[in-house]
Symmetry: C3
Subunit: 146 residues, 3 copies
């Protein structure tokens, strides 16, 4: 006798690539939401992993561009490029990029309910490029739930 | 023939509201633990999402009130209200609140085992209100496991 | 009639202890990967919880030791031991250790696919000891998935 378990457990990993500009903070909420919709992921966790250490992930305000610019200015002042870093072979913007990543997130876990990301009205998910020149950045999106 | 799958997978989302005072760091561990108990959630992940960008979540020491006061002082010095922020329409405490959130967490994933939060003896979960005036802050609590 | 549900859901918690040296940033990736292999954990989430508030978890570059040294120097300058902290009973390195933990992570969620941690080529998982003297630090490793 064959029994099909009615319970459906989703455990899917997708990869997204983003082409960034230097020192850019870019809203990637729609790209994540698109994956949630495509897989008809109803309820569960979305774990985001950025596979780099000089770029990072944050949840921040989605309304005012000024907030993003103030974040860039604040972190540039907090982590100056002119400090005497030991690690300087990749240029003066490299070690500061590692430190800005340190102060923000490489991994971020967001909930999903009713096929929608659990975010506040004014929240968006952002990819932060902390290097001077744009690159291709890889993010792994893991859907675990129903 | 009806077959009931013995496996029980919990995937529940609850919403909590907290009324804060200005610049307050408040221990919310008991409120989260209460939800874990009420749902008889035995083992799994609890993902917390604060739905704001000027308030945040941290795990910190639960014994000394001085630690919390030192955290407030440290971040007030690190992120001064008198800087020339572009984003200043909501008052001088607003952009610093976004930056303090940036440096801490909007999402936090804690494990549960034997119906208890996996926290160290001296650890508590805290909601940080970074605005000058108290507000109602919403936190989504997601239980995924057994 | 007995029906065994074919679906296998892994929900396992393990505890790891690490003996640290003072102010050390130590690569613990292999220890986590070892657990993933031993349990034949194929796909899911690994949630790490450090049960302390003066030590923390980060994902950082695994190639250059200079990056780790620059991180230590940067945070030592950002969080000086000579500030007038209210919380000073446990020595001048204690409150700075709490603040360095605040700026990094107590909990970290990493994905696993094909029995391997989802990390970039240059990424490693690190335990940061922020106290002056080494200690035994406990980390809970939670495997949730298949």
């Amino acid at each position: 006798m064959k029994v099909t378990c009615k319970f459906f457990f989703m455990n899917i990993i997708e990869h997204l690539n983003f082409k960034t500009d230097g020192y850019q903070i870019v809203n990637i909420t729609e790209k994540i939401e698109e994956l949630v919709h495509r897989h008809e992921f109803k309820k569960g966790l979305v774990n985001l992993s950025i596979l780099h250490t000089s770029a990072s992930l944050i949840v921040q305000e989605n309304a005012s561009k000024d907030v993003l610019n103030d974040i860039r200015t604040f972190l540039s002042n907090l982590v100056p490029e002119s400090a005497n870093y030991l690690h300087d072979v990749e240029g003066p913007d490299d070690m500061p990029a590692h430190l800005k990543t340190l102060l923000t997130n490489t991994n971020l876990t967001v909930s999903v309910v009713s096929n929608k990301l659990v975010l506040g009205v004014w929240q968006g998910i952002y990819l932060c490029e902390w290097r001077k020149f744009g690159q291709t950045r890889s993010i792994t999106v893991h859907l675990l739930g129903e």
